[in-house]
């Protein structure tokens, strides 16, 4: 089903290469035979339900945990054990309380910068980039949730890493803050950085990611570009026709309509042939007030995770190896 399009970086090693990695906690396989490559400059989204093993997989890539079996390389080197040659090239977002206590925003980031050997100018620039430019002298414990989140991200970026790991970076941001951060992330990508991130916001993954991987119960079920995934998964589009324009049975008999339901004042026609159905509707009802809902990554995601939950073993192994 997936995935790896032909390499375009002319023999450049991938930023991250994970080969058949497994990690057990007791009897449970938190990560179960995952293989994955993240190319340089790629924006890669790791999706999956809570407890699917996303954090463990990311921590193995970061070199914070050792895999039980399998291989992991970052820029061609092993991140485990603590590899101080590799660490300056990686930026890892920690939870948004990972601040040195009783410091101001600037003092905290200055200390982080010093840990990475980054210079002081980078501190001001990074604070500006995440929108904390006016908050230099505020104590970290007085920051709002969104500001803490930004400072946590700034702490991962201050040393200008080539590879950035972000863990639900937009989780506690308001819509404006999310959009602002999207711009920061797009800027990083435009500057050639590689970004690996986890999120539960599928609209965001669809908007930002070059590729996404969906992890269910420790197994990587699929990796693909969001748009391609939506296309190949053949999720249905929905046409919303105001009630009373056309009766249910008639609608169901239109060419290309797969199913009809009534939802909140609309007749909802499911179809994989939107154009054909619209053409058939036009002479019958007119198209005023008819809305089209194209399938989103969320539809595909929910479909995949639900299917995995129903049919655990047999199908995924094939999908995974494909």
């Amino acid at each position: 089903m997936s995935s790896t399009p032909p390499p375009t970086d002319h023999g450049d090693r991938p930023a991250v290469a994970v080969g058949d990695v497994t990690k057990r906690y007791g009897d449970r396989r938190a990560v179960d035979g995952v293989s994955l490559e993240v190319r340089r400059g790629e924006f890669f989204g790791l999706l999956g339900p809570n407890g699917a093993g996303k954090s463990t997989l990311v921590e193995i890539m970061e070199g914070l945990r050792k895999a039980d079996s399998g291989s992991v390389t970052v820029f061609g080197e092993s991140p485990w054990p603590r590899n101080t040659a590799l660490l300056p090239r990686m930026g890892v977002q920690t939870q948004s309380s990972a601040f040195f206590v009783r410091q101001t925003v600037h003092e905290h980031l200055r200390t982080v910068a010093a840990l990475f050997g980054a210079d002081r100018g980078a501190v001001d620039a990074t604070l500006d980039a995440v929108g904390l430019g006016g908050r230099h002298d505020v104590r970290v414990d007085s920051l709002s949730g969104g500001q803490r989140q930004r400072l946590a991200i700034a702490s991962a970026l201050v040393h200008g890493p080539e590879l950035i790991f972000l863990d639900e970076p937009t989780a506690s941001l308001d819509p404006e803050g999310r959009r602002d951060l999207w711009e920061v992330l797009r800027g990083l990508k435009a500057a050639g950085r590689t970004i690996v991130y986890t999120t539960h916001h599928l609209d965001e993954a669809e908007a930002l990611c070059d590729r996404v991987g969906i992890l269910v119960a420790g197994r990587l079920v699929v990796t693909d570009a969001p748009q391609h995934l939506i296309g190949t998964f053949g999720a249905a589009s929905r046409l919303l026709v105001p009630l009373g324009r056309i009766d249910e049975r008639k609608a169901a008999s239109l060419p290309g309509v797969d199913g009809v339901t009534v939802q909140g004042g609309h007749l909802v026609l499911e179809t994989r042939a939107t154009g054909r159905v619209l053409a058939a509707l036009d002479p019958l009802t007119g198209l005023d007030g008819v809305q089209t809902r194209t399938p989103s990554l969320e539809d595909v995601y929910l479909d995949i995770t639900a299917r995995q939950a129903r049919a655990p073993l047999a199908t995924d192994n094939q999908e995974q190896q494909a």
Partner: protein, 251 residues
């Protein structure tokens, strides 16, 4: 700015901005000095010829310095792990020597200020402590003592995951130890078997060495034995600390 300098500066700011902890770190031993001074006013310890106060001053100072090293290190380590600061340090290329070194220097600084303040107050009229001529030996003794108890703090801070459990474990270790090693009451006044028990406690060795260096009780060999005891405990506690240390909450 080096990682060492930055961490030391951040640690210093965190320390002085926490007024409550500053107060208790430095005032607590002084309060004990006053209390014991009032209780044992003018009395001498049998046979030794030294005043109770000079005895107590050395014991309370040892306990105060040891206590600050255990609690300070334990709380900071637990907090750093709970807040993922440790994880951030782990994911930075900063040499571990500069991280450990900065915490070590901060702990030594606290011990230095405590000692100067405490001895200064104890020399005031009413307490009348007269430091022995070999008082400079206090410096290596205190360095060894702080090293030993800092390592005990690493163990406490690695085992405990909440501030409450740091306080619980550290108090459980330090309070009985203070009484059983003769920090508050002269060991001479205790039964033989209790005196023997004190030999397995690091605070006993710090007490003896501080007492010999500060008040001239005993001779140089007491300082030597005290230091040797502290080194032995430091080696054992260091080995345990290296085993129980955890970078993150889950590993």
């Amino acid at each position: 700015m080096s990682a060492y300098t930055a961490l030391t500066a951040a640690g210093y700011r965190a320390q002085v901005r926490d007024k409550t902890t500053v107060f208790f770190t430095f005032a607590f031993p002084l309060i004990f000095l006053v209390v014991f001074g009032l209780i044992f006013r003018g009395r001498d310890v049998e046979q030794s010829g030294f005043s109770y106060l000079s005895y107590t001053a050395a014991g309370v100072l040892s306990w105060g310095v040891a206590n600050a090293a255990v609690f300070g290190t334990g709380f900071t380590l637990m907090q750093w792990r709970a807040d993922d600061i440790l994880r951030m340090i782990r994911m930075s290329p900063a040499p571990l020597a500069s991280v450990i070194g900065s915490r070590y220097v901060l702990a030594l600084g606290v011990g230095l200020v405590q000692s100067v303040l405490f001895v200064g107050v104890a020399m005031l009229p009413g307490f009348d402590l007269v430091p022995a001529s070999r008082w400079p030996l206090l410096v290596p003794v205190m360095v060894l003592g702080i090293t030993t108890f800092l390592l005990l703090g690493v163990i406490v801070g690695s085992i405990a995951d909440t501030p409450e459990s740091v306080a619980g474990i550290a108090n459980f270790l330090m309070l009985p130890m203070a009484f059983l090693s003769g920090s508050f009451f002269p060991l001479d006044a205790m039964p033989d078997w209790l005196q023997k028990i004190s030999l397995v406690m690091p605070l006993r060795y710090l007490n003896d060495a501080v007492s010999a260096a500060l008040t001239g009780r005993g001779d140089l060999s007491d300082i030597g034995v005290g230091c040797a005891g502290l080194v032995a405990f430091a080696v054992v506690l260091g080995a345990v600390a290296a085993r129980v240390f955890r970078w993150t909450k889950t590993s």
